[in-house]
Subunit: 656 residues, 2 copies
């Protein structure tokens, strides 16, 4: 037998063994994930409903001291199945089923340092995830990842929604629809309109100590591009390393992506024992008035965060069922030449008095830590600051990182930033502080593990409607976000602007009033800001919807939606039978027939509908709003007429 | 000279003298009131704009011991003019100009007891008033009025709006439009559509110790029919007597009657020195739920006035800016065989605790005294009860007199009732208690003198919409009341029902939702009840209007209105620049062009319009409501589309 014949036989035998072991299905059998080693390289591929979805796509790393993407043989495999249901402290659904089949591929390099690499694959009904594990082994010391070579090799070109990595700061971009083959390097989630019956989103889960992912297109193959350290290295580790999960969410409809909880399932369970202090809620604050140039952050004649002004907000918040009042600009660091401190209030702001006043009214003051990217200062002060805040009854801190680089050097989505953000969340947890993080890395579901990580920015939010000279966010923006940014987790978009007057000509929410209400439901955040000045809420009929709307849910469904065009999301309150629905459209008006088949059978409900009124139009007549009250059942179909840039918000109360 | 010639000469001389002295004009000269004695009888007549309005109409009395309507000669006259402006503690206007010319006619009977009678006439720009004064004189001892002969002798037949005295209990009737010549005996105010440019209302002012007036038609002459004592006598007095003012309000438009303050001007100035404790406001309470059969007045499993339930109402009231919470059925007297007491709470109602709880939330509990017509019991207990209530911080008491007769014997609009009601108001004033009087006599403006007499029923109110088997109040009802009942003063109609579900089939407010808001402005009461159950207000967009709406005003105007068809009333808040408008229609839909010329020139306002929404109709679709926000100035004309049984409510805020 010649060596050639022997080799061919061996490959055949190995392949046959691998073929048996290296395939898993989703529990419903629709998704098949296969992995294979070919010529020493490891690939995965995907089928769904019998058709190829992902061609063989490479896996592995380039490490500083050698490649870890080739020379592999399969040393063994493990398979497992898992099915349980866990409860979210807060969220879009109360109970989450975590049901998957798992395959762990143990690889070993046949030559050189004979390094081992494990790849764990999980197949869910709503997609697949996989992560790399470099196990501790004699030949692995300090790990420096030069590149992660993970590929997502599409079977065909398709339209995808994304924001470009290099032209977007803080992920604050308008998602655009382009062919995958035309993409620059983009941020995730990357949402792909793959086939008429298949929508996918590529992202990551459980980013705990690693670099944030980006994707670069090479034709129809997407290649991982990790956010680097300033020295060009992507990830440092020692002895062993676990990557975040790379995930491909898959659904028959765009809305199916929204109700996928795979990302959360791929995060670690809660590490906080006592979560009783973690309370979702709604807040108002000194914020929009600053963006509208009526107030200033820094002390002076127009200072927003004065004791009297914040107490005024607290009085209002208490009357209207808000759980918190934020004040930006309460502490030194905003004026020219001022030394930033998270421990020193401006003299016209009595933080202890205000915090106490809020407690007396049944709510809490929300502190703000704008670091200007000075992460080191946060790390230095956070334990003292959080302890001090907690001593005053403060439980939510909004953090901020405005600035091109963190600590003048590193990108916030780099491993440096990821580590920092996590340290803050962990420190906060020790002091029973909830975090609302602005200028974050893209979220990856870490709130399962640290449910005090309530909400994050990482979105082109409402403030662009205050001052963006290109005219603010287009009407399509909030019809796109639920299918893109929001797949990564809660978003502090700060909806519910009721007064559309302009500071910069043409710049105001490009939305009707009813759509601002719809956004309160559609754009999920467990801490949801009603962002307008309280003067614009006082005596406003639309405020009643905001007052009624919870920020944590027992169930979420998406009756309809087309990415970038319109979306309807229905959510059921926790501990009750009331549903809340938000429906919104881009710049096209449309009629929506909303089937209420998510309601309980054999029950009768009263629907309180806030909708675009006569002549409503986001440009010509944003304020026209209609209200009606209709008896409905699970068999009802509500007809909604959404104006251009319009929406509807509905409260559906079980009456018998 | 024959006796005949002498007599003719004498008459001529007397007439000439009388003619000179017995004529007064309104300050603007449009109304001319003439009085004359002819054949010993005294008459007045009226002209307006040069045309006769009232033909010579008789005056005087029939006393038990002789007629005081004939045998008169003029003993002298006095004339006076008056012009000042006084401030209402609360009301539809803050400052009221009291500008009139006065004529006092001193009459003496030429024969018999030679009794003297004075009649004081006042001519205002908005009508005339006159009162009788029987001065103290040797031949007058105990006075018993058998009849007051005052006539209102119209120059022609005309349509008038009234409720019939003998078929209406507590003035709770539907006003109907009939020819004067077809009228039965009717209550006042009697509102007459006299000529295209002349609307009149006949009523009385300052009814302090006298019998309530009614009018019986004799062709086109209306004759006074006082409400009698059970012995048939109308009024008792001793030594001297002063009647209330008989008033004829006159205006070019129906709305002019609404803005007339003549009735108030003819009441005595305030007799309460310190009025600082008199505070208008809004209230909610345990009331509608009882009428809807969900709760009971009496103690039992469905008892409404329990400590817990009232505290729930207080919590709600505090959050939404109400100043009071009423609970009917808090005290013994509702159950079978229970002894009525205004001093004894049901055991499941801790009145002191509740009153204190309310104070702690910045509002006050409103006590209720339902007497079942047992006026004597009220008089026995009122000083103790009011003192006790006041000691708990209670400042408003709702009194009630359900029952055919007062103390089993007298009519409530008789002098007996009038005296009782006044005693209660005076006792209340001593204890700093405000009164909301149900089953009252028809109001006559006594709140000028006793501004703690806040509001009264004497109207077919909202409760008929809960249980009236003939279908409740017709849509026209609240388009009629402003021009009829409401001319007599504040009305506790209890508007603002938001949930129109039925207990008795077909019986619910015959109104759209927006009209319920309009009624809150249109039907004036300084203590205005938002009458629905709080569960129907919670999270309701329309509540925002109620929250915003004051109950005391600096100015009231009536831009338009047709009695029984529609009306628009605009009121300006005190101490601010915000206007509130209510516009409502009967069963016809209509478009109204509302000129905003009552706004300040050179100012810009934002109008927040709550109006009938698409498809709104009081029968088919009462809940559809529209909202819009429009920038307006004094030059603007708002187009309002009122649905059948519909309305609009507008808040107009000055923005610059």
């Amino acid at each position: 037998m010649s060596r050639l014949v022997f080799l061919i036989m061996m490959v055949a035998v190995l392949s046959a063994r691998a073929a048996a072991a290296t395939k898993i299905c989703s529990p419903d059998g629709r998704i098949v994930l296969s992995v294979a080693v070919s010529k020493g390289k490891v690939f995965y591929e995907l089928e769904r409903d019998g058709a190829a979805v992902m061609k063989p796509s490479a896996l592995g790393f380039v490490l500083a001291d050698g490649r870890l993407d080739s020379g592999f043989a399969v040393a063994g495999t493990d398979t497992a199945s898992h099915d349980d249901t866990w409860r979210q402290v807060w969220g879009e659904d109360e109970y989450v089923r975590n049901h998957y089949n798992e395959l762990t591929l143990h690889l070993v390099q046949k030559h050189g340092k004979r390094r081992r690499l494990d790849i764990v694959f999980r197949a869910f009904d709503d997609g697949i995830g996989f992560r790399y594990v470099i196990p501790a082994q004699p030949t692995v010391g300090r790990i420096a990842v030069k590149d992660e070579v993970t590929q997502f090799s599409l079977t065909h070109d398709a339209y995808a929604w994304s924001i470009p990595t290099n032209r977007t700061q803080y992920f604050e971009g308008i998602y655009t629809r382009q062919r995958v083959s035309d993409l620059d390097t983009v941020c995730t989630p990357l949402t792909i309109e793959y086939e008429p019956g298949l929508y996918m989103a590529i992202h990551e889960a459980a980013l705990e100590d690693y670099a944030g992912i980006n994707l670069a297109s090479r034709g129809t193959t997407l290649v991982t591009a990790l956010t680097p350290w300033s020295d060009g290295t992507k990830v440092y580790a020692s002895q062993s390393m676990k990557s975040p999960w790379r995930i491909i969410m898959m659904a028959d409809t765009p809305g199916g992506l929204i109700t996928s909880r795979m990302m959360l399932n791929l995060n670690e369970p809660c590490r906080i024992t006592d979560t009783s202090w973690i309370e979702p809620g709604k807040y108002v604050g000194i914020w929009w008035s600053i963006h509208k140039k009526k107030n200033t952050w820094e002390m002076g004649p127009k200072h927003g965060a004065t004791t009297a002004n914040v107490k005024r907000y607290i009085d209002f918040a208490a009357r209207h069922g808000f759980s918190g009042v934020l004040a930006e600009g309460w502490n030194y660091g905003w004026g020219q030449g001022e030394q930033l401190s998270f421990m020193k209030a401006y003299p016209d702001f009595d933080i202890a008095g205000v915090a106490d006043y809020a407690l007396g009214k049944g709510l809490r003051f929300i502190a703000h830590m704008e670091s200007w990217g000075n992460a080191r200062l946060i790390e230095e002060q956070m334990d003292s600051a959080f302890a001090w805040y907690a001593s005053m009854g403060i439980r939510v801190v909004k953090t901020g990182y405005v600035g091109r680089l963190m600590d003048g050097r590193e990108l916030s989505a780099s491993q440096y930033g990821i580590r920092h953000y996590r340290k803050v969340v962990e420190a906060a947890a020790r002091h029973h502080i909830m975090i609302d993080n602005h200028e974050p890395a893209m979220p990856t579901g870490l709130q399962r593990t640290y449910p005090n990580l309530m909400t994050q920015e990482g979105v082109r939010g409402q403030e662009y409607n205050a001052w963006d000279t290109r005219g603010g966010n287009p009407p399509e923006h909030t019809a796109t976000l639920p299918f893109t940014r929001c797949l990564a987790g809660p978003v502090d978009f700060t909806p519910a602007i009721f007064n559309f007057s302009e500071v910069v000509e043409g710049t105001h929410p490009h939305s009707t009033l009813a759509k601002q209400l719809a956004e309160f439901v559609v754009l999920y955040s467990p801490l949801q800001m009603a962002a307008d000045e309280i003067a614009n809420y006082e005596f406003h009929p639309a405020l009643s919807f905001i007052e009624s709307c919870p920020t944590t849910w027992s169930k979420t469904v998406v009756p309809n939606g087309v990415i970038g065009s319109y979306v309807t999301i229905a959510r059921k309150e926790r501990g009750g039978d009331t549903w809340f629905v938000g429906s919104l459209t881009g710049s096209d008006s449309r009629e929506i027939s909303l089937k209420l088949d998510f309601l309980d059978r054999d029950a009768v409900y009263e629907a309180f509908v806030y909708e675009d009124g006569e002549g409503a139009d986001y440009q010509a007549n944003p304020y026209s709003m209609g209200f009606r009250q209709v008896e409905v059942t699970a068999a009802s179909v509500l007809s909604l007429r959404l104006a251009r840039g319009g929406g509807a918000a509905i409260r559906i109360v079980k009456v018998r």
